[in-house]
Amino acid sequence: MDSSNRRQHDDDVPLIFERSAPGAKAVDLPELDVPETPLPDAVISDQPLDLPEVGPLDLVRHYTHLAARNFSVDGNFYPLGSCTMKFNPPINEAVASWPAFIDVHPLQPDEDVQGTLALLYELRNWLAEIAGLDEVCLQPCAGAHGEYTALKMIRAYFTDPKAGNAPQRRVVLAPDTAHGTNLASCTMCGANVVTVASKDGLVDLDDLRRLVNDETAAMMITNPNTSGQFDGQIGDIADILHAAGALLYLDGANMNAIVGVSRPGDFGVDIMHYNTHKTFSTPHGCGGPGAGPIAVRQFLRAYLPVPQVEMRGNRSNPVYYLDYDRPQSIGRVRSFFGQFGVLLRCWAYIAACGPDGLRDVAHTAVLNANYLATLMHDRFELPYFDPGQKRFCAHEYVSVPKTLLAQGVTLIDIAKRLIDFGIHPPTMHWPVHDCLMIEPTETESKATLDRFAQVMLTIAEEIRSDANHLRQAPHKAPVARLDEVAAARVPVLTVAPS
């Protein structure tokens, strides 16, 4: 142990329950201004409700202290591959808190919520245009929920005797680099997943041809793919599936590389989901909320979930309404309408960017990733990046730093050491083992990219000169490295009762 390198970590922040003092309170309600009604004993709880009792300052200080123990895009470079941790404009947070929007009840009559419906209708059409597809459903709560919704629709299409008419099509193909959600969503929809092999990080077309048959419902693909490459075979992939009567599904996780540049509908996609919390800058909020709108081609429209936001009348005097009259719909996928507060931010982002701005987002995301990859690739092997051979990455890239790892450190050591430099570690061990997946996004400045490259080179140097320092990282975080194995062995998921 190199004790000279150990640092003082922060003092523990007590749990809110440990700050509790009997009788303390942070808020008051007005006195009851109606007569009391006797409580029916049979249904009233006789158990004490063990919630914290804290005063107003302790309450504010507690969560302020917790905030200080969190990395965020606002405070830190966050090159987390496949997560698109871009800047979240404060204007979007501001407008999303306006009473005109947040005080609207979901079951108010349509005539009372024309502003909300107009916004949703407009967003629906914008997202269809960006996808190059015919109709959008805004309801899904997140990307995985969009996948679920889309797979239900594909099933409805194939079980419709007047449409797909091929109920035996229950197999969904997915590349071996697919997001885990793709596979789990198939299971939830009763579909069987078959994995398609990759060749040099792209779909192996021969394997795809071998696997496609009259039981194939669809293939789920991410393009640019999960290793950060545009799969230029996408047209061939679409042709192979369509010739066999199957559909092409796009996981839109990586739309940030192509928004405004290339449209899924133009490269053969039949149905897709967006992640608004990636492409359209709705904030990640420590893990959510997101929204996962789906876009579909004409022949799938009838199966979209209810309700759909529609317009009648003409453009000069429009009336917006929720349409439930969709007899072939897969039904409801959630209560009420959707993640309105998230969709509002998405609307604001697209409105602020405009068509040229959106294309600039994609161009700069790709530029930043390629620039950073160029700065790193001397010391960190980048298997799919070779500018000399005109082989570039999309908006993110994979590094498999074999030479560095051969010197006796692990990927985790590198990741945890980055925390000491105030940088959130990249995605690790995905889509392949022992890799870093780096996505800088378009919103970072050149200075930030230069610094990250410098830090990575510094760490590479440290691996040679002081590997122990890495193995004990992080040194400057609120806690030292945590024992995640122990956490899973005997799970403690709640505070023991006081």
Partner: protein
């Protein structure tokens, strides 16, 4: 890429309107291209076949500056008549309730350190979020009277669907008994979730607005995976969970799923007290604005023996290298990013920031505040119900115990009362026919702690005068 005007060397151009969000200057862009060794960004897209490229700009409105954006959204907002506004008296419920939200909840959860962070996979860089979610899990477990809770799901209906999928998996059975007193949206989501799986939805008919113990006994068989009962149910009635769940447990392996209202849990017997194995439902009442139905908060709690089958993320307590307490995501082998097709659920992105809102809300309201809010809901709703039933032609549709919501048989169309309310700044309730839970003369009325005696009296005056 012929349509592209960015990044060509030596070419002057007007900066993109997204200037606020993209910080790379034109000069830097050229330096970066030079370092990469290409002439233009187009070359970085070389692997995309030309036919995949969009030959023209997207057909979207031109970019708006921040000031223009504020103005456009102000115009859209002005076309709304928000029922939860302080200018109105809101008696709307049916799964989304107008409760008091302390300002502390808004200010603390608006912190960029929380808003702009990702899922706390890197524990040492995410102790703030992880500790808050650990507190959330504890609060939800205590509120529901169960042992463990997850770190959130999307919203109420999908949380119930996840509970049912879990019960089917744990019990290895197919029949899902669902009281028809469950919110219709939740029932419809369940129908959709189960439609392509080897499972069968068995609806249980209501008797007087509640589910009868005998109805459960009659429907129960050796293939019953679970029983789902909401209480207070969609009519506002309090179900007898204890009796219904005891009846269901006569079949071993059958799981009982309670769909609670979290505010009611501060006053009424909790799911865990009544024999529920799982509690799943909507967390919106816990400090989350109405915001047209979302984002809300899916709550999910269960007994400890079901812990390894839970959907979604879990935060666990552990220690760091110095023996200090810390928190990390745990039991991740249940989840899709590790387990793929065999995961307990496909959920990845959850409702982290809303879980944080609920945590701060519950900490702010505290032991006494939450109970006071629940008591005020109860007393004000009962005061309103007694005044309304004293009016000519109005009576309660059900005679069982209720919490803060009740259905009223009206002498006129519910819609005409709603229309008349618009003139008086009262949102008097929900048209039961439209929601699919009653006829067009029935109004569903919710009364939270926010309503005043004066507003309740105004509601009664509205009903009285719409009595013909």
């Amino acid at each position: 890429m012929g349509n592209c005007c960015h990044g060509r060397r030596g070419q002057t151009q007007i900066r993109s309107p997204a200037v606020n969000y993209v910080q790379i200057t034109e000069e830097q862009r050229l330096q970066m291209l030079d370092r990469i060794g290409v002439d233009s960004v187009d070359q970085l897209y070389a692997t995309l076949p030309p036919q995949c490229l969009l030959g023209h700009p997207l057909d979207l409105p031109p970019a708006q500056s921040e000031l223009q954006l504020q103005n456009s959204l102000h115009r859209l907002g002005a076309a709304n008549r928000p029922a939860g506004s302080p200018d109105l008296a809101c008696f709307l419920g049916a799964g989304a309730y107008d409760h008091f939200i302390p300002a502390t909840v808004n200010s603390l959860t608006a912190k960029g350190e929380f808003v702009t962070a990702y899922t706390p996979y890197q524990a040492e860089a995410s102790q703030g979020a992880l500790q808050a979610f650990f507190e959330f899990q504890t609060q939800i477990a205590r509120l529901t009277g169960l042992d463990v809770a997850n770190a959130s799901l999307y919203e109420g209906a999908t949380a119930v669907a996840e509970a049912v999928l879990m019960a089917i998996s744990v019990s290895a059975r197919r029949h899902v008994l669902v009281g028809e007193t469950l919110h219709p949206h939740y029932r419809q989501v369940l129908e959709s979730y189960l439609s392509d799986l080897p499972a069968e939805l068995v609806p249980l008919a209501q008797t007087g607005g509640r589910i009868d113990e005998q109805t459960v006994r009659d429907a129960l068989d050796g293939d019953t995976a679970c029983l789902v009962i909401q209480s207070p149910n969609v009519y506002g009635q309090i179900e007898d969970w204890s009796a219904l769940f005891a009846a269901a447990h006569k079949q071993d392996r059958t799981l009982t799923i309670a769909v609670p209202n979290p505010i009611a849990c501060a006053l009424l017997k909790r799911p865990g007290d009544c024999g529920a194995d799982i509690a799943a439902g909507e967390g919106q009442p816990l400090g989350i604005p109405l915001q047209y139905g979302g984002p809300y908060l899916g709550l999910f709690a269960a007994r400890r023996h079901l812990m390894r089958k839970l959907p979604g993320r879990l935060v666990g307590q552990t220690v760091d290298g110095d023996g200090r307490r810390g928190f990390c995501l745990t039991l991740q082998t249940r989840e899709q990013h590790i387990r793929g097709a065999k995961a307990t659920s496909n959920v990845c992105t959850n409702q982290g920031l809303l879980a944080l809102r609920a945590t701060v809300y519950l900490s702010a309201m505290g032991k006494q505040g939450l109970r006071d809010a629940a008591l005020q809901c109860y007393h004000k709703a009962h005061y309103a119900a007694s005044k309304i039933t004293a009016l000519d032609g109005y009576q309660l549709a059900h005679d069982g115990p209720f919490f803060h919501e009740f259905m009223v048989d009206c002498p006129v169309y519910a819609q005409s009362i709603i229309d008349a309310g618009r003139q008086r700044d009262i949102a008097p309730g929900i048209d039961c026919a439209k929601l699919g839970i009653g006829n067009e003369n029935q109004l569903l009325i919710a009364v939270t702690e926010k309503r005043t005696a004066g507003q309740i009296d105004q509601l009664c005056a509205l009903l009285q005068e719409t009595n013909c």
